[in-house]
Amino acid sequence: MGERNANTLTNESQKVLEMLGIDKRFQGVHALKECTFELRKGEVHALVGENGAGKSTLMKILTGIYQPDKGEIVYNGKKVHFRTAKEAQVAGISIVHQELNLMNHLTAAQNIFVGREAKGFMTDDRVINERTRKLFDSLNLNIKPTDKISFLTIGKAQMVEIAKAISFEANILVLDEPTAALTISETEELFNMMNELRAKGVSIIYISHRLEEIEVMADRVTVMRDGQYVGTLVMKDATLDQIIKMMVGRTIYEEPKTKSHVKPDAPVVLETKNLSSPLVKDVSFLLRQGEILGFAGLIGAGRTEVARLVIGADRRFRGDIFVSGRQVNIKCPKDAVSHGIGYLSEDRKRYGLALGLSVTDNAMLASLDDYASSGFINQRKCEQETYKYIKSIDIKTPSSRQIIRNLSGGNQQKVVIAKWLIKNCDILIFDEPTRGIDIGAKSEIYKLMNDLVNRGRSIIMISSELPELLRMSDRIIVMCEGAKTKELDISEADSEIIMKYATLNDVGGKKHG
């Protein structure tokens, strides 16, 4: 991670923004309660808090997407009120939202300049392509302006979104969990950009659940809890423990695993031999009962693709799958579920959830057969079952009937987990299970996973966060460019050796040009 630019903030540093007594209610949810926030010129100000604390809502109010019920915003010493996103943009406040907001069928350049492509009625793509190329060059991005978004990886698409926000040359830049989908090098690139912007006097509001990033980048940090302002700390005087305590009201201690908890003779529940597809090269592995098998690698290493082959979501060219020793023919995800394999997608919005349905409907989606008789769904039983999980994994929702779209990101993820727990799957594949989830919820999900393996379930965990892999896995498989490059017992694994094998071919590739 980049060097921290010492930026000595004094009390005299100019305030650019003050949000005072902001209150916001949605149906049934009091999302912000008299919340306060203050931003100075040229600082990176981290905003942290658990899932559902109201961070995104506060920023949406700042940028004119939501209207506050009460409270005022003072910007550059003047009281302002933005009624639309455009008004905030024009005033010099731009935002990268937590969820991607790009038009997939348009090119990168068309996305970046949408709404301001030309003064008149006629557009000329050559002009915006040229401007986009300059912008990308200055940000060191290797993306063609004419590339359609749908052909970019999530990480690249995210970088386009960030470039778009930067292109407004705003005074205030809001980044709502920008690194969730980025690779390590992309993240570093982003941090360099942020340092440059800060040096130019741009104020940055940075939302992230990754405290190590905040430690590196932030000048100050504001903590929110349950829609309320808890406090602001100067980063160089603060410790992470202090911040965590403010976030969750208690300290969380996480000990890394040092040795496998699985008996060497535990039965093999899942085995694959030579799984191959255009993006996966001959991957074989086995998973034992009660084991957590970690999959490490850079974004795009083919880990998700392996999972998709196992559950039959993509066609495999070659390769066999054995469940509990018997060869099975998995052709579609339904087959996988019937063999007791559940998959939690990394992109829950696209594959994991029906955003317009309620918590109950989503949680029960995979198990309706078990809760219906002659085609009629026993709604009461469904609600009871869902409620049990709302309690046990602490899903923050006003009721089991709340529409998923209105839940915060982390709570949406918990609903997906609940879905497979209710289905009683023996083998669970967690693909980036804690992406966008706060530490409180994270440690609950870890606890949940440990509970599950103790009760004899087996877990495959794909994660780009090494600390979590090292803390959770019994064994780790490292992948690079579609191939398995190393298999490590947890006792011999550390981040250095994992990174070495995760970038193995990368180095080789560069040598060959």
């Binding site: 943009q89 348009l106 068309q110 949408v114 993006l279």
Partner: protein
């Protein structure tokens, strides 16, 4: 790397617009097929017949393309076209207005229906399917009410105002003026879709409406404009229809919208929004008219034409799905 090369090839295919090429190829194959197996298909009169039938569907399909790219649908174009033509006919026959004014009436009536569609959809957030289904019936009824269920007759070539037919349909020498107008309108629409903000926002709305809104685009305004454009195109289609067929019968026109939609879909425009092209739609129009005339030349009557139109639509959609799957593979 093997992977890189492979995606390179697919990328190239994707960029060259496979669907359009395939549609064009299909059109050429059909023409060849009918020339060989049909009677008199490869003749001047057959060619003129194909053109005649393509005018009004072509205009409707052009407007419809914009609507479908936004992720919407306009089910009212067929009846709106007829209702405009009917009321224009009333203006001519009953109110005795000059023919030029009557033609303007056709366009105005149709554009107003487009405006109503747009306002209901954009401002009241009603689903396009429902709104335009409603205006389909309303325009169907409205035309008949104004015409008092009388068939309206436009002037023929030899009558006093016959110039309108020579101007919009065929010259005395038989030159297809309708094709000229269709081409001119096509070019204008093409520029609108590819070179202007209207076009850009049409794609943006269909691709991700929320993202477009957050980017500060006035979604409501542009949606209204798109439906107005569809109504306007239906109005022009009405003029061409009147010029080509002379007689306008009340309570007709429903079902014609399906030809326009089919042409757009055959041309590779996705009903899910965000993708599509006018060139494709135009090819789609001709695929359908060629099919119709070709089957006729093989002595297969209208029931067969309808039947095969359906087959072509489904084939086109299958092709589209196959293509987007390939595209998705490139991405991964």
């Amino acid at each position: 790397m093997v992977n890189g090369e492979k995606s390179g090839v697919l990328e190239a295919i994707r960029r060259s617009g496979l669907q359009k090429l395939l549609a064009l190829g299909a059109l050429l194959i059909m023409c060849t097929f009918f020339s060989i197996f049909g009677q008199n298909f490869f003749s001047h009169s057959a060619f003129m017949n194909i053109l005649d039938a393509s005018y009004y569907i072509g205009f409707m399909a052009i407007g419809q393309t914009f609507v479908i790219i936004t992720g919407g649908i306009d089910l009212s174009v067929g009846t709106v076209m007829m209702s405009g033509a009917l009321i224009g006919g009333v203006a001519y026959n009953v109110w005795h207005w000059p023919i030029a004014f009557c033609l303007v009436v056709i366009v105005i009536v149709a554009t107003i229906f487009g405006l109503i569609n747009g306002l209901l959809i954009a401002k009241l957030h009603l689903p396009p399917f429902i709104v335009t289904l409603g205006t389909q019936f309303i325009s169907l009824g409205f035309g008949s009410i104004v015409a008092e269920v009388q068939t309206q007759q436009y002037p023929t070539v030899n009558q006093a105002d016959g110039w309108f037919k020579t101007a919009f349909y065929r010259t005395q020498g038989g030159f297809p003026m309708g094709a000229v107008f269709l081409l001119l309108f096509f070019i204008a629409a093409y520029i609108l879709l590819t070179r202007t903000k209207l076009g850009r926002y049409t794609y943006a709305i269909g691709s991700n409406e929320e993202a477009a809104r957050i980017s500060g685009i006035n979604i409501d305004k542009w949606k209204v404009i798109v439906y107005v454009l569809s109504g306007f195109s239906a109005g022009l289609a009405g003029i061409l229809y009147a010029a080509t067929y002379t007689t306008i019968v009340p309570q007709t026109g429903n079902g014609l919208e399906l030809y326009a939609i089919a042409a757009v879909v055959i041309g590779g425009t996705s009903l899910a929004g965000g993708v599509g092209s006018l060139v494709g739609s135009l090819i789609g129009v001709f695929i359908m008219t060629v099919l119709k005339d070709g089957l006729m030349s093989m002595n297969m009557q209208s029931q067969w034409q309808i039947f095969f139109t359906g087959v072509v639509v489904i084939l086109a959609v299958l092709l589209d799905i196959y293509r987007s799957k390939k595209a998705a593979q490139v991405k991964n």
